[in-house]
């Protein structure tokens, strides 16, 4: 057996991080925004079946960018985690914080111990009974967690889109207003001086956690309903 070359831990972690970041940057962005009655998720996605935004539990949703097979696996794990917890204790005992911690440990462990990091970035959001109770956690490929307020943009060109959203977002916006902002941000040209794209409703995947709904608050918005909201 030949001796492997020595690679410093710094270099090893940097290589892995670069690799994960490159994979994530290839995908389209997801925008998550708080509004007066809940939390909205929007992304450009032509598929009606392969979702990037999904329901985890009564008040918890999941949004992801990166490699589909990897985040799909994490999504299913999240549903299992939440349902098991809700079954063992009670439905109100399932929290986004607990799920975010489980995801963070998983992402962190894979990042440091397995040969390839997961090329995903996640948002775990929980809608509260009042806007102050909303929680949005952003999880990076290496397991780092940030507690976000107001909005999150992740995926390719996250920085450019983030500046658009941060300029337009304010607390207490309505659903049509945040969706308009989200679609405008998603249509932002990739380069300075490019033209703004108009994304038709059929190309959008939009979902909300609506705090006014009883029990299961997650709802997908599509078809005529979404068109009406975008025109409002």
């Amino acid at each position: 057996m030949s001796m492997p070359f020595y690679v410093s831990p710094e270099q090893l972690m940097k290589d892995r991080a670069d690799y994960a970041r490159k994979g994530i940057a290839r995908g389209r962005s997801v925008v998550v925004l708080q509004y007066d009655d809940g939390i909205a998720f929007a992304t450009e996605n032509a598929s009606r079946a392969l979702h990037k935004v999904s329901e985890i539990y009564d008040r918890i949703a999941f949004a992801a960018v990166g490699k589909y097979n990897e985040f799909e696996n994490l999504r299913v794990a999240g549903v299992r985690y939440a349902d098991l917890r809700g079954y063992s204790y009670d439905r109100v005992d399932v929290t986004a914080r607990g799920l975010a911690n489980a995801y963070a440990q998983t992402l962190g462990t894979v990042f440091t111990t397995e040969s390839k990091p997961l090329e995903v970035e996640l948002v775990v959001a929980e809608v509260g009974h009042v806007p102050d109770g909303d929680q949005i956690y952003r999880l990076a490929y290496d397991g780092s967690v940030t507690d976000e307020h107001g909005w999150v943009v992740m995926g390719g060109q996250a920085d450019r889109l983030d500046s658009v959203v941060s300029a337009g977002w304010s607390p207490g916006m309505t659903l049509p207003a945040v969706l308009g902002l989200a679609v405008a941000a998603l249509g932002t040209p990739a380069d300075e001086g490019g033209t703004q794209r108009e994304i038709p409703a059929a190309q959008l995947e939009v979902a909300v956690l609506d705090r006014t709904r009883p029990r299961r608050t997650f709802r997908r918005l599509s078809g005529p309903l979404l068109e009406d909201l975008l025109q409002a």
């Binding site: 079946a49 979702h51 999904s54 329901e55 985890i56 696996n73 994490l74 299913v76 794990a77 549903v79 299992r80 985690y81 349902d83 098991l84 809700g86 079954y87 063992s88 489980a102 995801y103 440990q105 998983t106 962190g108 462990t109 894979v110 111990t113 397995e114 040969s115």
Partner: protein
């Protein structure tokens, strides 16, 4: 390069990230088998536990009605006057359970979760037949307890979104699944309820008439079966009655049931002349 003990690192155990199954029951069986009702040691000898009684279901134009009385008994004692035995299984189906109350409620909880879990993971609803078969599998898992007298006998019904019609399924303790036509009843008062349903049910009922027929059947069951509770106007406890239609599961309101129960009582009162008591 994998960690020798995945749980030691704090990551989600591999059972969570193993792809393939959309069933919560299968997941529990592999990850936490002690949480499954069928995997517990079977008690020896007689177990005294509250029993839930009569459930009726009938089809009407555009859906089904399911209704259950509110009594649970333990031997000759009334264990509960306001137990609920009819539940939404998911948006388009209802399940009512007669038998050992504790096991029944646990089974319903697991069944509801099984359907929701599938829906979340697959992104689509199970077919009505698929739901009925899942319930049969879960009943079968309870066979050991059923042999000890702790049987759970459900009645399942829902709106079939493919066939655009309401359908009813009954079960036996071994997990046998039988599709019922028009109407059915389970539990100790079911003999009397079935007789009542036979006379009162007719094709082409609307939802309000079907609710009335369901309540009448429960009143008839309560009349002759001591384990079935009738409408209790003193405490204002009415049966749990729900309709399942294209619009989904809808529980009939307390006010409507109070009206239906009062009308039923009035109708019965006028047919009885005074037979006297102590004079």
């Amino acid at each position: 390069m994998t960690h020798p003990d995945p749980t030691a690192s704090g990551r989600l155990p591999y059972a969570f990230t193993t792809p393939g199954s959309s069933s919560f029951v299968d997941f529990l069986a592999s990850h936490a088998p002690t949480l499954l009702p069928g995997n517990r040691p079977v008690p020896v000898g007689d177990v005294q536990a509250p029993h839930g009684t009569t459930i009726v279901a009938l089809a009407f134009d555009g859906g089904i009605v399911m209704a259950g009385d509110r009594r649970a008994t333990m031997g000759s004692m009334i264990a509960s006057r306001e137990i609920e035995k009819v539940f939404p299984a998911d948006e388009y189906s209802a399940v009512g359970i007669a038998g050992t109350a504790g096991l029944a409620v646990e089974l319903v909880r697991l069944f509801q979760l099984e359907l929701e879990h599938y829906e979340k993971i697959e992104g689509s609803l199970l077919s009505l037949d698929g739901k009925a078969n899942r319930l049969a599998t879960m009943i079968r898992g309870n066979l050991g307890l059923a042999m000890q007298g702790l049987a759970v006998v459900p009645l399942f019904g829902g709106f079939d979104l493919d066939r655009r019609t309401g359908r009813i399924f009954s079960y036996d303790v071994t997990g046998g699944r039988y599709e019922e036509h028009d109407h059915h009843a389970v539990g100790s008062g079911s003999v009397f309820a079935r007789g009542s349903l036979k006379k009162l049910w007719r094709p082409g009922l609307d939802a309000a008439e079907a609710v009335r027929v369901a309540v009448e059947a429960l009143v008839d069951a309560a009349d002759d079966d001591s384990a079935t509770g009738g409408p209790d106007s003193t405490r204002r406890i009415w049966p749990v009655v729900a309709t399942v239609t294209e619009a989904g599961y809808l529980r009939v309101s307390q006010d409507e049931l109070a009206g239906v129960a009062a009308a039923s009582e009035e109708r019965r009162r006028v047919t009885h002349t005074d037979r006297g008591g102590a004079r």
